[in-house]
Amino acid sequence: MAEHKLIIIGGGPAGLSAAVAAVDAGLAPEDILVLERDSEPGGILNQCIHAGFGLHRFGEELTGPEYSGRYIAMARERRIPILCNAMVLSLTDDRRVTFVSPETGYTTVEAEAVILAMGCRERTRGALSIPGTRPSGVYTAGCAQRYINIEGYMPGHRVVILGSGDIGLIMARRMTLEGAKVLAVCEIMPYSGGLARNIVQCLDDFGIPLKLSHTVVQIHGRDRVEGVTVAAVDEANGRRPIPGTEEYFECDTLLLSVGLIPENELTRGAGIDLDRMTNGASVNQFRETSAPGIYACGNVLHVHDLVDYVSEEADTAGRAAAARILGESAPVVRSVKLSTGHGVRYTVPERIDLAEEPEDVRIFFRVTDVYKKVQLVVETEGGEVLVKKAKSAVAPGEMESLTIPAAKLAGVLKSGEGGIIVKLNETGGDK
């Protein structure tokens, strides 16, 4: 059986960034193997041709291919081996990775560390159970994005979009610029999950209506979509469609932008603990999962809204994997569990493994709802505030973060405090 010190599953922004960080932390590039299932590295960014990436990382606004291009160049400069067209079939908790590729055939390799960087995939019609016929012309927004931006193929001309996440909004603009008529974007929630900037520049600029608290209740057409029925939903009654509000849209295409799911089949197969809220692995601050030596980063761990944060998280995982292989990891003295308090949906990491001399730990989290005027707080179960920050507005679509200073964590270690809570306090103003 072939051996590698570090196997990275996925050659998108997370995998590439982790590989670069591992080399920069002292690991020899020839000890690394990046496995990518597509024919080229770069991941989903290759089809995200719009601008808006890299403001935090590079201090400038890049398109997706430009952002991934920079990481591909960094990986090439460091001579990191990337095997494309390689599909990983299974992973075990003792770090055996089995994959197939045209170059290597069916191969099993053993590694001292594995980084999971498989990204996420889109929820499909099946996850929503929309009634109606099953014609062609129903696509996920990302699927249509691939058709247009990579294959150069227009999937439709009269379009309704369900879901106002950023991919749906971006595709409303893209299809409009390419000559399609986008009739409406329907959002079941009373607010959009997309950035205000995308609502303005992708919908308002082109006069595309955003129908909040509306959903698609029927798809019509035998071979091809001929139309969809849209109805308002009752907020007070489990978001059920309100009879009498139905509206028919004649269209040939329905795009779904209804959420992303971390792609964790391999993780599950290895028996690694998953977090119920993120649908990703449960990790410590180094992004190490419940299986020693197996790390996870990027959208396979939790769905990020900025690729800049994916890269940052992947750096953390890459450095930690390198430290493990090089024998530089500090021994863990005690694990402290992070839990969510009022207004917080999930945190990453879910636990902090404290060494004798703790370092700063940055906590990422999402809030449960749209709030104005809040204080974000990280405190011990005993009520000692470790870090807090006032915000004028927070929304579930924007990831928040707070950094617990090393000195405070040293205090937690000393006091024997059992757990840490992340929560928000409403400090006044309208919800």
């Binding site: 041709i49 719009h50 398109t63 997706g64 610029l177 950035l195 303005v200 600029d205 924007e398």
Partner: protein, 121 residues
Amino acid sequence: MTTKELTCVVCPAGCRITVTLNDKGDIESIEGYTCLRGKTYAANEVTHPVRTLTSTVTIETAEGKKMLPVRTDAGIPRERLFDAMKIVRATRAKAPVHTGDILVADFIEPGTNLVACKDFL
């Protein structure tokens, strides 16, 4: 006097800003912003809104035709986006192309270029 309502895109707060213009089209007042960046955004957005255009053009490569992602290297007037798309559609590229190569110089406005966003070597 005309008033324009807009949503600020500077941060997630998404403030509703009202800009009042006099008959000459000059700004009389800006209300509803909560920070200076928001005020500047609103002033630019009502007098001279610009957008970065991103799209794709067909590129001839050794492996056949592919799609090359492209962008404008500066904002172009929002009302010219569809004119810009006509030029994009008529543009063809041929490998080798490097990220940042200019495909169309003085694109829509003098000094603004349509540039490649990916290497095709």
